[in-house]
Structures are given as C-alpha cells and as structure tokens.
Symmetry: C2
Subunit: 180 residues, 2 copies
C-alpha cells in the first residue's frame, strides 16, 4: 500500500448540530498533524431553539378523546425527552378531542387531537439539552399512529439571512405496536 499523501490542508465545515464544535475540531485534528490548518467556514449558525412539529394519522379514536390518557402521555413524553415539567394544562376540544400544553424549563410541548379523523398535531419547542425525537417516538407509539410526519425547524439562527429554517422533514409509515 502506498503511503497516503500527506495532509497539508484540512477544511472543516462545522454545522450547528455538531454537539460541541470545539471538541469535534480537536478530535479531527488530533494525530493527523497537518502542515497547515484552515478553518474553511466558521459558520455562525447558533439556533436558540429546535422546534419539532409532528403529526400522526391512523390513531385510535377512543384514545384521542381520553383527556386523562392524553395528559399522562404528553407528560411522560416530556420526561422521555429528558425535559423538566413546570406546569401543564389540558382542555377538551369542542365538539371532541383534547388540547394540551406542558410548560417546560426547556420551553413547551403541545398536543391537539381530532378523534373523528384519528389525527394528532404536536409541537415541541426546546432550547435545552433534551431530546425531542424521544418524545415523538414515545407519543407516536402510545397513540398507535399508523402514519407519522416530522418537521424540524431551527429557530433563532444567527449570522445568516433567515432566522428560521426547516432542517429536516420526514415521513414514516409505522406498523408501530402500541405499548399498552
């Protein structure tokens, strides 16, 4: 095997989702000792918040009209994500369904259900270290969603034109078994 060409330049693009750009940089440069290093683009993207919008279809109607179950599921979803609950409010929708919000140390998690359509809308705004996808995974299973869609919007981005940007938008058809 030929000796690899010596590294003389290292270009690194750090994205905002890098958990710790400083450590990532050190780990990448350690050992390779390039003759010179250029930080190609120090991108000034610092979103204050990650906003997860999720919706579910094909959920079981009876569950979506059960305000106690929805309350318990939403609070547990917040816990699963590693967030800290400050307060919560649940209210029956007219003519049916449930609306609920959990206020968190890390921002908020909301749910609105339409039992007649088997449809649920969720939003989870977080500015801390918690993991919103865990809340989504928990809720979609708990409500027996057959179809789930998730959109992640970065909020409060600095140093670029737009302050908000859709980072990710995914759909999934789940044969997800309910947990209970």
């Amino acid at each position: 095997m030929r000796n690899p060409k010596p590294i003389t330049h290292l270009h690194l693009k750090l994205m905002p989702q890098s958990p710790d750009p400083g450590r990532t940089w050190s780990a990448l440069t350690k050992g390779i000792e390039p003759a010179s290093v250029f930080l190609y683009s120090k991108i000034e993207l610092k979103p204050f918040g990650r906003h997860l919008l999720a919706e579910y279809r094909g959920c079981e109607s009876a569950l979506l009209n059960d305000i106690d179950l929805i309350g318990k599921a939403l609070r547990q979803a917040a816990v699963e994500a590693g967030s800290t609950i400050v307060a919560s409010v649940f209210h029956p929708f007219t003519p049916q369904g449930v609306t609920g919000v959990v206020v968190l140390e890390e921002s908020h998690l909301s749910i609105h259900t339409w039992p007649e359509h088997g449809y649920v809308a969720v939003d989870f705004y977080t500015c801390g270290d918690c993991e919103p996808m865990r809340a989504h995974e928990f809720l979609s299973k708990e409500l027996g969603a057959k179809y789930a869609e998730v959109m992640f919007v970065d909020r409060g981005i600095e140093g670029v034109g737009d302050s908000m940007a859709v980072r990710k938008h995914t759909r999934s058809h789940a044969g997800a078994a309910r947990r209970h």
Copy 2:
C-alpha cells in the same frame, strides 16, 4: 383598442388559503362568461391547522424579562386575533427571560423570550377562524421588535403527500413604534 381575445378557457387553481373557494369561483367567472370552464385542479388540501412561527429581534431587554408585561401582551395578542382564552401559564426562564403559553379554544399561543439577546420566539397554532397575523402584528409592536420573521406551516393537509407544508416565509425590518 382591439377587442380583447374572447375567453374560451378559464383555469383556476384554488389554494387552501382561499377564504371561500365557492365564492371566489363565482366572483371570478361572473361577467366573463367563458365559452367553457375547466376547474384546472380541485386541490384536496384541507389543513386542519395553520401554524404561525414568528420571531423577533432587537426587542427591548427590560420588556422581555417582565413576566407581567409578557403575560398581558400574550393574552391581548390572543384577543386581537379573535381567539378565546381557556387558560394561561407563565414561568420565568433560567437564568432570565419568560416562557408562556395561552391555551385557546382554537389551540394555543406560546412565547419564549431571551432578554440578553433581545430575542423572542412565538408560535400560534390555530384551527379556527381567528387571525393569527393580528397576534403577530400586535406582539411585534408591543415588544418593539426591529426585525420580525414569520413562517406559516399548514398542518394536517389531506390528499397530498406531505401532511405539513411551509406556505409562507417572510422577513421584515420594522421601525415599528411601540404602542406604549
């Protein structure tokens, strides 16, 4: 002036934001009496909800740390939009700032403030007849925002691939005078 070419075909694309597609259609076809009319695309977009994401920069720090003022402003914003308040929760952020949610008959309105950055994040999910832009206009003025950005996400769209879609994304630099 030459006679205009007679209209023989009228193609109309009705979008979900049309307040009343039937009336729009009648108004457009009235008087022009086309020889034949084709409804080009009867789009089956029926969003359950409209989700307004808004953020403000350049707000006055002192306002953003005043939990009473933020509470009053958010509740008034809900009223300005024509929505009906069910409950509200406000909580001081750590180390500073305010997080607040107003639960509505029509869904919810939330706010999170960062006084140290003059930054505010708002979301307003509505499934009723209220006018979320009025809440945004009220809040951005009330908080003295110098920069505002708004993203509208349609939620729960039926009959197309994606259930969510960004309908609108606008930025504005406002020399908006505060109201008080």
